[in-house]
């Protein structure tokens, strides 16, 4: 059944036995992950365990070497596809530490990303209007960078949005704003059965989860997904017994 055409359509993203190396070092080992259309997943795991790598590989950053396995998005094998093709196919990403781009105003970038976007309205939505004429990310604080990322994604409107620690360095007031933006990007204002946009986010402490909705969570350890399940249960488990608990695989399935 799993290989039937019917199911391939339901999974927006399907990663199978993905192994990836960088600089000759294996950093992802046999990763399996499926994200359905309209679902938002959270990814937990200690530092250096491969979470950001997984997002980067899905986005198609070329520094990584895929040693085995495949990434299928909307039924297309994108394992060898270039970054921009993936983006145009509907993959978007909020970077954890995006670079600054000298001489490129944020509002200009919004127009380049989506000529039909209402830059002024989007900036206002993220309480970011004052940054319209600033160079992208240049001199932005940690929290400002996150809002800049959200504004760009709101313009891009990806079908699958990846968020690498959208809550790190963000104060409480703005965490709510970012949570709302993620809900908007993942259509949480719609009935679950009507949602088509999906998401995958990395968070360390889960603060952001108080302001946004997730459907499923995964734990990554040593380059593999070791456990998947209900986000709240998994987070409670991690808070209770740390990631060691996951090594022993005590997570509910």
């Amino acid at each position: 059944m799993e290989n039937s055409i019917c199911l391939e359509v339901i999974w927006l993203l399907e990663i199978e036995d993905l192994s990836v190396s960088i600089g000759g070092k294996l950093v992802l080992k046999d990763v399996n992950l499926r994200v359905g259309s309209g679902e938002t997943h959270a990814l937990f795991g200690p530092n250096g365990t491969g979470k950001t790598t997984l997002l980067n590989v899905i986005a198609g950053i070329p520094r990584y070497v895929v040693e085995g396995g495949s990434i299928v998005f909307k039924g297309h094998d994108i394992t060898k596809m270039s970054m921009d093709e993936r983006a145009r196919l509907g993959i978007g990403m909020a970077f954890q530490r995006p670079p600054a781009i000298r001489g490129l105003r944020l509002k200009e970038l919004i127009k380049i990303i989506n000529p039909n976007a209402d830059a002024t309205a989007l900036l206002k939505e993220m309480d970011f209007a004052a940054f319209a004429d600033r160079d992208v990310n240049r001199g932005f604080s940690g929290g400002e960078v996150k809002r800049s990322e959200m504004v760009q994604l709101l313009a891009q409107r990806p079908d699958f949005v990846m968020l690498d620690e959208p809550d790190s360095g963000v104060d409480l007031e703005n965490i709510k704003l970012i949570g709302e933006a993620i809900n908007q990007l993942t259509q949480k204002n719609m009935r679950p059965s009507n949602r088509t946009k999906s998401g995958l986010l990395i968070t360390h402490f889960g603060h952001i989860l108080e302001y946004m909705k997730t459907d499923r969570a995964h734990v990554m350890l040593g380059g593999s997904i070791v456990c998947s399940g209900n986000p709240k249960e998994i987070l409670d488990q991690i808070k209770k017994s740390g990631y060691e608990g996951c090594v022993a695989c005590l997570c509910p399935t």
Partner: protein, 404 residues
């Protein structure tokens, strides 16, 4: 008007090679230019000249304080539209004002090299701009030096005097139409910025693939005076060499140089030379160079002669091809105690991280490169009126600036 001393010195230097840049055989160019008809109003200029001027940011409209256009060796219009600015052809000015002898060849030596010597031995052609004492305007004087005949050696000698307390903005576009196979442009400019005067001088070059260019500029700035000098060259040129020298002679004088180069071929040798000769003077020189081919030498020299002078140099280059070369030469010469002089220089490629970031937003590699290059060349220029700032931005944004 004859100046035997100048002519004598020039004659002796007629074979003197310049310190920098590829040596040019002046004999291979013609000096005799056919004369052009003068016009009363800028609107009457030939269509192709107006179009070429517009292309180098010189919109000959009402939003200016004066217009000067020189076609080959003929000043076809020299007209001020603001009472605070006097604008004449240099020939007319030399006849009108005896005092100009005190300015003529005082900041650039007629025997500096064979190019200055060539200009000194030619009948004067160029502009004279004088901002009258205390008179200020944000509307720029717009000038266009148009080299319209093949094989011509266009010689220009300009003088700008900004009198005490004046504010003057000048934009000069130097250009040649596409059909010109070959040409040489030698421009001598002498700028005198008096006490508390504020001047911006913006030069946009757009030459042909077989055109050689040798501007020679000397600037002096008195107490409290300031200069913002901006040079933009984004189109192909065969060889270009310039090293304007500014001397800050009065307390608190300020000079800032911005250079923006996009090179695809040829040999470009540019820079600025600033001598900080009075207390509390300060100078900044920023150059941004992109090469997708061709050699660019970016020089910057600051000499601090008195305590308390401050100088900063920044030469940043993006080298996007194996066919190109960027040679950055920042020089700081401290000759006194209590100086504050610094420089930063970098030559590199486009950051992978920036490229990937934009590609993750759906931009193709080419689009992303172009956006980064344009951003890189978008220098923040201080001291320019909004309209000129926008004009410079339009020029850098309009170009089809690619990677290799």
């Amino acid at each position: 008007m004859p100046m035997p001393d100048v002519e004598e010195r020039a004659r002796k230097a007629k074979d003197k090679k310049a310190l920098y840049g590829i040596d040019i055989d002046l004999e291979s160019y013609e000096s005799d230019a056919r004369p052009h008809e003068e016009v009363k109003e800028a609107e009457e200029l030939p269509q192709e000249v107006k179009k070429a001027a517009l292309d180098v940011g010189v919109k000959l409209d009402k939003e200016s304080s004066g217009a000067y256009v020189q076609m080959d060796q003929t000043p076809v219009i020299a007209k001020s539209t603001f009472e605070g600015v006097e604008l004449l052809s240099i020939e007319a000015a030399l006849k009108k004002y005896d005092y100009l002898q005190d300015y003529w060849w005082k900041l650039v030596a007629p025997d500096a090299d064979k190019y200055t010597a060539e200009v000194a031995q030619s009948p004067p052609a160029g502009y004279f701009i004088r901002a009258k004492k205390g008179m200020k305007t944000v509307f720029p004087v717009k000038s266009c030096l148009y080299l319209g005949s093949s094989n011509l050696n266009q010689r220009v000698h300009n003088i700008i005097i900004a009198e005490e307390g004046s504010e003057l903005h000048v934009i000069t576009g130097c250009t040649t139409p596409a059909h010109i196979q070959r040409g040489l442009h030698v421009g001598v400019s002498e700028f005198f910025i008096k006490k508390n005067a504020k001047v911006s001088f913006t030069m946009v070059h757009s030459w042909g693939k077989e055109v050689e260019v040798r501007p020679r500029t000397g600037i002096t700035i008195d107490e409290g005076g300031s200069l913002s000098n901006n040079y933009i060259c984004l189109r192909p040129v065969k060889t270009l060499q310039t090293f304007p020298t500014a001397t800050l002679n009065g307390r608190g004088a300020v000079a800032s140089f911005n250079t923006v180069i996009y090179s695809s071929m040829g040999n470009i040798d540019v820079g600025s030379n600033v001598i900080l000769n009075a207390p509390e003077t300060s100078s900044e020189s920023i150059s941004r160079v992109v090469s997708v081919g061709g050699e660019v030498i970016a020089r910057g020299r600051m000499t601090g002669k008195v305590p308390g002078a401050r100088a900063h140099l920044e030469c940043v280059g993006l080298l996007l091809s194996d066919k190109g070369r960027i040679y950055s030469i920042p020089e700081l010469d401290g000759q006194s105690r209590d100086l504050d002089m610094s420089h930063e220089a970098a030559v590199g490629r486009i950051s992978e991280e920036e490229l990937e970031y934009l590609m993750a937003r759906g931009l193709s590699s080419e689009q992303a490169t172009s956006v980064i290059v344009r951003g890189f060349l978008d220098v923040e220029i201080k001291g320019l009126p909004e309209e000129l700032k926008q004009e410079i931005k339009n020029i850098t944004q309009r170009e089809d600036l690619k990677g290799a």
